[in-house]
Symmetry: C2
Subunit: 194 residues, 2 copies
Amino acid sequence: MEGESKSSVDVIDEGSEGKGKELLVGTCDLVMRLLAFVMTLVAAVVIVADKQTAIVSIKLVDSEPPLDVPVTAKWHYLSALVYFVGANATACAYATVSLVLTLANRRKGKGMETLISVFDALMVALLFSGNGAAIAIGLLGLQGNSHLHWNKVCNVFGKFCHQTTVSLFTSLLGSTAFLLLLVVPPLLRLKRTN
Amino acid sequence: MEGESKSSVDVIDEGSEGKGKELLVGTCDLVMRLLAFVMTLVAAVVIVADKQTAIVSIKLVDSEPPLDVPVTAKWHYLSALVYFVGANATACAYATVSLVLTLANRRKGKGMETLISVFDALMVALLFSGNGAAIAIGLLGLQGNSHLHWNKVCNVFGKFCHQTTVSLFTSLLGSTAFLLLLVVPPLLRLKRTN
């Protein structure tokens, strides 16, 4: 009798623990998806609005003095930044769709859950490749490369580079949110073995 | 009686189907992990062995004729390629460890499976960021950027760029294998709803 009552208590405990865990997983999922949406949106908007015009001295003829000409830096002059914007815009659009699907269907089936996690994984690959490309170009702009005679440009376009850094940082936060969407739910669902 | 026998047949069918599915998932996991190991190893080795010396005409003084000097291109002259090598080497080492763990413990517990899938997700992020960085720099080397006055260098270091492309391609295959490790098992395990 005592054993029976203990076992039924265990079942109730396990059931409520399971429900609590699923509630925690669902809340984490929503928070991280919302964070991913906001961060990728901010990253895309900040870099698309990034533009700076600076006066640069250019020597056209060796015997003549250099000419001061206005030169403009824009994000779409660099294919890496175009890819970065595309990756963040795609991830932002997907985050919106997945948020709506998650909110409309809180008790989503296994099929929908699997499909969403597959797309989350694709977004991680897309966003991190975009971040890698943009950071590589950003570092070149900041430091240049003496071996290849690629001069640094951030000493001239300081505001442009600063805004790009802000965009990169927010994109990294958004990408980490997508990565956590893959990593955290399985870890939370894991039963404690000890 | 008829219904009872039908239901027991269903249970047997479902059980054997489940075992068949798990065998398929296990085989896919091993094949993709092996592919990821080989591809990331080849990518790292090919780019580390990448080196080319070319004769370049450099004008030191305007009034003097240009001088022909030997210039060497090496992977570690570019921080993006250093990161790319680091990412592939790390992923290759992890693929070895995870292969050994998977082979030694075919019936791995839920805890080990979750831990491995968490590291698989981290490898996807690491490898794709490395690929993005290397592709961005590779495209600059191939096409240059007229806005920033960064000249293309692949017209001089053709062999170096060709070998980098091979390494990038194999790294992309290895990264896709890691991505498939995240995506395929949940899709295979998914029960057909229709």
